[in-house]
């Protein structure tokens, strides 16, 4: 047990600090009504990280990464938080698709996609869920039939985040309808400009359009764009989902910490009943609870990266992380509402960020595997309880 940094790790940290000092962009507050500007801001930041060699800490060097360890990944997250740096963009590409391509993709696929994910040039989406296949994603019905050296895809996907801006999609389809449901699936890396793909944005309760419906009508995808083997797509999907759960949380501390700081700032500013809200003992308890849970989240993240350093591949424990951060973010959004008091009702207070954060967080326990699915995974694959379905 030694959380102090080795000389090599110190060197890494110091280099990063020096780089951040010269390259950190001025702050920008996210609001619901300037999503486009925010997107541009994050794209520029991602590009900067990539050019500085900081975009893919633990990704192989030959594909644009840094070839460093998960420990350095942990240091990177800590430093980003300390510097109050902007969050990363392209979470699907970096957190889910990239690691999957690294794990099971062909050499040609690695060369073609990985660097462009890190540079922010390519945004990816993940075509898994369907109208009748949500938590039970293996029951999906979109099908692909082999025609010469192409798959021909027909079907529908839903809840697809970023599909409206993505260049590529990690798509899972049924290629053997006669096989048991987990056995007849195949994964494809699909160019979103392929004829026959229609994307229809869905408006979220927060008012913005983050996810979409996708329709596939006779979409022809070359055989070479298959990832993994035919009818063995489920194991590819499991790799992707395990990475999603393990990685999605690692960059979130920065975002949550910034939210908490802003909440405390609001509590200092707003007066209620003749005193600043920060002096209200009940509010102090609530904010301190958020502080405690957030710091424990940081420590959980560091610890899981330290474990990953040994094991090499994320395991089902990632479900604990997903469960933790999604429910924490909802609790924090609620605490922010309590800090605001009557201002919580206003849609546009403080640029609308708190109303947006509260409403958007409702989706956290549904997207990327519901809390119920995460608890099933923890119970069945970590604790060894019997399968219930």
């Amino acid at each position: 047990m030694d959380l102090s940094l080795t000389d090599g790790e110190k060197k890494f940290r110091d280099e990063l600090r020096a780089w951040l000092k010269n390259n950190l962009p001025p702050k920008m507050v996210k609001a619901a009504d300037n999503a486009a500007a925010h997107y541009e801001y994050l794209t520029a930041w991602q590009r900067k990280l990539y050019e500085g060699g900081w975009a893919g800490i633990s990704w192989p060097k030959e594909y644009g990464g840094r070839g460093a360890s998960p420990i350095e990944q942990a240091i990177f997250q800590e430093e980003m938080a300390l510097a109050d740096a902007p969050e990363r963009m392209g979470t699907i590409g970096q957190g889910l698709v990239g690691p999957t391509i690294i794990a099971v993709g062909s050499e040609a696929q690695k060369k073609r996609y990985l660097a462009r994910i890190l540079s922010g040039e390519d945004i990816w989406c993940q075509g898994f869920s369907e109208p009748n296949a949500g938590s039970d994603v293996a029951s999906l019905e979109s099908k692909a039939v082999l025609d010469g050296d192409h798959f021909v895809i027909n079907g529908q996907k839903i809840w697809t985040s970023y599909a409206h801006i993505a260049q590529h999609c990690l798509l899972i389809v049924r290629t053997d309808p006669a096989a048991p449901k987990h056995k007849g699936l195949t994964c494809l890396l699909v160019d979103m400009k392929t004829p026959g793909i229609t994307v229809r944005p869905l408006k979220m309760m927060s008012g913005d359009s983050g996810f979409n419906e996708m329709f596939f009508t006779n979409v022809r995808v070359p055989l070479k764009d298959m990832i993994g083997k035919v009818n063995e797509g489920w194991s590819v999907a499991i790799t992707a989902l395990a990475n999603e759960r393990a990685n999605l949380g690692t960059g979130l501390y920065v975002v949550f910490k910034r939210n908490l700081d802003a909440m405390v700032e609001q509590a200092r500013k707003i007066k209620r009943g003749g005193r600043a809200v920060i002096e209200d003992p009940v509010v102090r308890q609530r904010l301190a609870q958020a502080y405690v849970e957030l710091e424990v989240f940081r420590l959980n993240t560091t610890r899981s990266l330290s474990m990953l350093n040994k094991t090499g591949a994320p395991g089902p424990e990632g479900s604990i992380q997903k469960l933790y951060w999604s429910e924490l973010n909802q609790r924090m959004a609620q605490i922010a509402m309590e800090v605001l008091g009557p201002y919580a009702q206003l849609a546009d207070y403080d640029g609308g960020r708190w109303a947006y954060a509260y409403l958007r967080s409702r989706g956290n326990t549904i997207e990327a595997g519901t809390s119920e699915i995460q608890r099933n995974i923890i119970a069945q694959r970590v604790l060894g309880l019997p399968r219930s379905y």
């Binding site: 047990m1 030694d2 959380l3 102090s4 940094l5 080795t6 790790e9 420990i71 942990a74 240091i75 405390v264 509590a267 920060i278 003992p281 102090r284 308890q285 904010l287 301190a288 609870q289 502080y291 405690v292 849970e293 710091e295 424990v296 420590l299 959980n300 560091t302 610890r303 330290s306 474990m307 424990e317 604990i320 469960l323 933790y324 119920e372 995460q374 608890r375 099933n376 923890i378 119970a379 069945q380 970590v382 604790l383 060894g384 309880l385 019997p386 399968r387 219930s388």
Partner: protein, 369 residues
């Protein structure tokens, strides 16, 4: 950077686990909780012989010269075994004496288990707020003090040979070593819901206290450090308890049959078990980080200890609640060992300040000033 126990630390923890499984099985725990002191002299000596009472203290203070991570690793196993008797009081007293006065003979005597100690800190109306301590130490002609007043909730008081008493003097806070048998010192047992660690009240009636360990700022710093260490021990104890409860609860869920199925098949049961694991593992991250920080960063680790205590206090209670719920009727009986852990968890949650107490401390550290 490595966020897990090193190989030697793992070996130590395993040997502690084996030790308690062998020397302190549930049958012995039950025998001891039924006594007034929970003390088994041979068992206490065996623990002392391992060096665990002073595992984190310098060799010059009678310790093993290891660190707070090792202390936490042993305390975790003690919690897993629901180990009864005077460990916490003596470790706390030894830590406090060593921090207050490196030359005091008591440090070695406590750290090696030759005497058993307790820290007489809290008072009936103080809670864990040190500013609210009132017990007076009046200067006496011989250069020492006369103590008058009452200390409450003193862990291990019924078996202590030596009290380290915190009192108010004209020079500020003063720490005094007072033998339990000294004239004017009266100990009354105050039975707790957790019968594995006995509490008592200590009444000082113009008791002479000439053995001064520290005064003023030095006394405050030593007390703060010892509180961090003792709080860490309580946290690690809770962690071991959580681990025991989860293992037994999951095992029960895998075997107990209802509606023709093992109850572990039901998602309502699975989800309780999953939450228990999340709380336990998150506590583990917080507690071992605090243990490391206490060794590496000293007083600055007060924040990390407060985070660990705030988180683990709530987590431990919730884990124990779910453990009983999954066990159903049997979990609510005297016959099942679960209630021993349930009660110890409740006591540890309260000791050294509950979650709300530490949240307010953290609010002051993080939001004020």
């Amino acid at each position: 950077m490595e966020f897990e126990l090193s190989k030697p630390q793992k070996l130590l923890q395993q040997s502690a686990r084996d030790f308690f499984a062998r020397e302190c099985p549930p049958k012995r725990v039950r025998e001891l909780v039924a006594t007034d002191t929970a003390l088994h002299p041979e068992l206490f000596s065996a623990v002392a012989d391992q060096g665990w009472l002073g595992i984190h203290l310098a060799e010059s203070s009678g310790g093993l010269g290891l660190g707070t991570v090792e202390l936490a690793a042993v305390a975790e196993e003690m919690g897993r075994a629901c180990f009864p008797g005077p460990f916490l009081g003596t470790v706390w007293a030894a830590t406090l004496v060593a921090a207050a006065d490196g030359k005091s003979k008591h440090a070695e005597s406590l750290a090696t288990g030759r005497s058993k100690g307790a820290v007489a800190l809290m008072e009936p109306e103080s809670g864990w707020y040190l500013d609210a301590l009132q017990l007076k130490a009046r200067s006496s002609s011989g250069g020492g003090y006369k103590l008058s007043g009452r200390k409450s909730f003193v862990c291990d008081a019924p078996v202590a040979d030596l009290f380290v008493c915190a009192a108010r003097s004209e020079e500020g806070l003063v720490l005094l070593a007072v033998p339990a048998k000294a004239p004017g010192v009266k100990v009354t047992a105050t039975p707790g819901i957790d019968a594995t660690r006995k509490l008592g009240e200590v009444e000082f009636d113009a008791a002479s206290a000439d053995d001064v360990l520290a005064v003023g700022k030095a006394a405050e710093d030593a007390l703060a450090h010892s509180l961090d260490v003792a709080t860490l021990v309580a946290c690690a104890d809770m962690l071991g308890g959580m681990q025991w409860i989860i293992e037994h609860t999951v095992e029960y869920a895998k075997t107990r049959q209802q509606f023709g199925k093992t109850i572990g098949t039901f998602q309502a049961v699975q989800h309780m078990c999953a939450d228990m694991l999340l709380w336990c593992e998150s506590s583990r991250s917080a507690i071992y980080y605090a243990a490391w920080a206490l060794g590496a960063q000293g007083a600055a680790a007060a924040r990390d200890v407060a985070i660990a205590k705030a988180y683990a206090s709530d987590a431990s209670r919730e884990v124990a609640n779910r453990g009983v719920q999954v066990h159903g009727g049997i979990g609510f009986t005297w016959e099942h060992d679960l209630h021993l852990y349930y009660k110890r968890s409740k006591a540890s949650e309260t000791m050294f300040g509950n979650a709300a107490f530490h949240r307010e401390r953290l609010a002051q550290m993080a939001f004020d000033g």
